[in-house]
């Protein structure tokens, strides 16, 4: 059986600061690879999507990434880097 080829997906949090407000990659990805979650949760108060660093983005389903690069194209901040292992490494 072929070994699955997961890419490494790095999201630069210094560039992607307000993912819940931006959400471009979340909505563009055909494979729904990304997810957003609140990093800052306070009692009695909703987290503010426009506050830098209050939400984080991850590529939890990167095992479903096809490498189409749609997310990279829509990202206004150039925050996403995707690297697949070379073909020989998984042969």
């Amino acid at each position: 059986m072929a070994v699955p080829r997961f890419p490494t997906i790095i999201i630069d949090a210094a560039k992607c600061t307000v993912p819940f407000a931006c959400k471009k990659c979340l909505q563009a990805c055909l494979q729904s690879v990304f997810s957003v979650h609140a990093v800052k949760v306070e009692r009695g108060r909703e987290t503010d999507p426009s506050e830098a660093g209050a939400y984080g983005l991850n590529a939890g389903h990167r095992d479903k990434c096809t490498g189409c690069n749609d997310c990279i194209e829509v990202c206004p901040e150039d925050a996403i880097t995707i690297t697949f292992p070379p073909v020989e490494a998984t042969a």
Partner: protein
């Protein structure tokens, strides 16, 4: 019977189904006096805890795929001790029964849709998840979990609301949220719903067990219109070109009933899963 019914059902209520047993609904817990000790869940965050455990197991897909498969298998077999949340697909009529039994019932934003697509649901016209039980009163303390607020509903309003999402094509999943009590009826689709995705893509069964029913097509009544095909979130329905009728793989069917509620000729029937020897153990 599935293992959840065996562990948490009571034959006196709702044909022994766990989600129709009043003891699994939180308002009943307030009748139980706990003398001398704090309740086990006091001050804890069962949803968060189970979420983190789940996250750790899911992370092993990348770090140790073999271990991941082992842990999922164990979790699926561990019955009551499974670290995964319990969830079961139910058809609309069963969701209606729960809406009568549970108190309070409220609509709220869906945490899976926030996560998967960054979808904000700010008011009762946008909320897509149903919260059940006294846990809902926590919304004031943790507004981020109940982002956008909650909308308490009467049983009749709740039914109308469930029907709305059924018409749109959402699957109803009755859920616990890490604790031992029924916490919500999620309105789910693939890939946004974490429970459906975990089951369909990764074989995690406990959060998305199949319903006690299974769909069956009456070939004589089926006109071949194809409406049912787009209703299935589980890929169980194909249009059979040869016969010009719909074909349902009953082993793939989760018994959500969405195809049945949409079929214009009434050609789809939900059969009792356990009446079919080949499917009685397929949950």
């Amino acid at each position: 019977m599935n293992w959840v019914d065996e562990a948490f059902g009571d034959p006196e209520y709702g044909e022994g189904r766990w989600y129709l047993n009043p003891k699994n609904h939180s308002r009943q817990m307030y009748k139980i006096k706990k003398t001398g000790q704090k309740a086990a869940a006091y001050g804890s965050d069962p949803e968060g805890t189970s979420g983190r455990m789940m996250g750790e197991i899911m992370q092993k897909r990348f770090t140790d795929p073999e271990k991941f498969r082992e842990e999922v298998k164990e979790a699926n077999e561990m019955t009551t001790k499974s670290p995964f949340q319990i969830g079961q697909v139910i058809p609309l009529q069963e969701a209606f029964r729960v809406a009568e039994l549970a108190y309070p019932v409220a609509s709220m934003s869906c945490i899976c849709r926030i996560g998967a697509r960054g979808q904000e649901e700010r008011n009762e016209h946008e909320y897509s998840c149903t919260g059940l039980g006294v846990g809902m009163f926590k919304w004031e303390r943790w507004p981020e979990r109940y982002k956008g607020g909650v909308n308490f509903m009467s049983p009749d309003e709740a039914k109308e609301w469930l029907l709305k999402w059924n018409k749109k094509g959402m699957v109803h999943i009755i859920m616990t949220f890490g604790g031992s009590y029924v916490g919500g009826i999620c309105n789910c689709d693939y890939p946004d719903c974490g429970m459906i995705r975990n089951r369909v893509d990764y074989g995690v069964e406990t959060g998305c067990l199949k319903s006690p029913w299974v769909a069956a097509v009456d070939y004589d009544a089926c006109s071949g219109c194809g409406v049912c095909v787009q209703r299935c979130q589980f890929g169980a329905i194909k249009f059979e070109v040869t016969t010009e009728k719909t074909n349902i793989d009953q082993f793939k069917c989760f018994g959500c009933g969405l195809c049945e509620t949409a079929c214009p000729t009434g050609a789809i029937e939900l059969l009792d899963r356990e009446s079919l020897p080949g499917l009685a153990e397929v949950w």
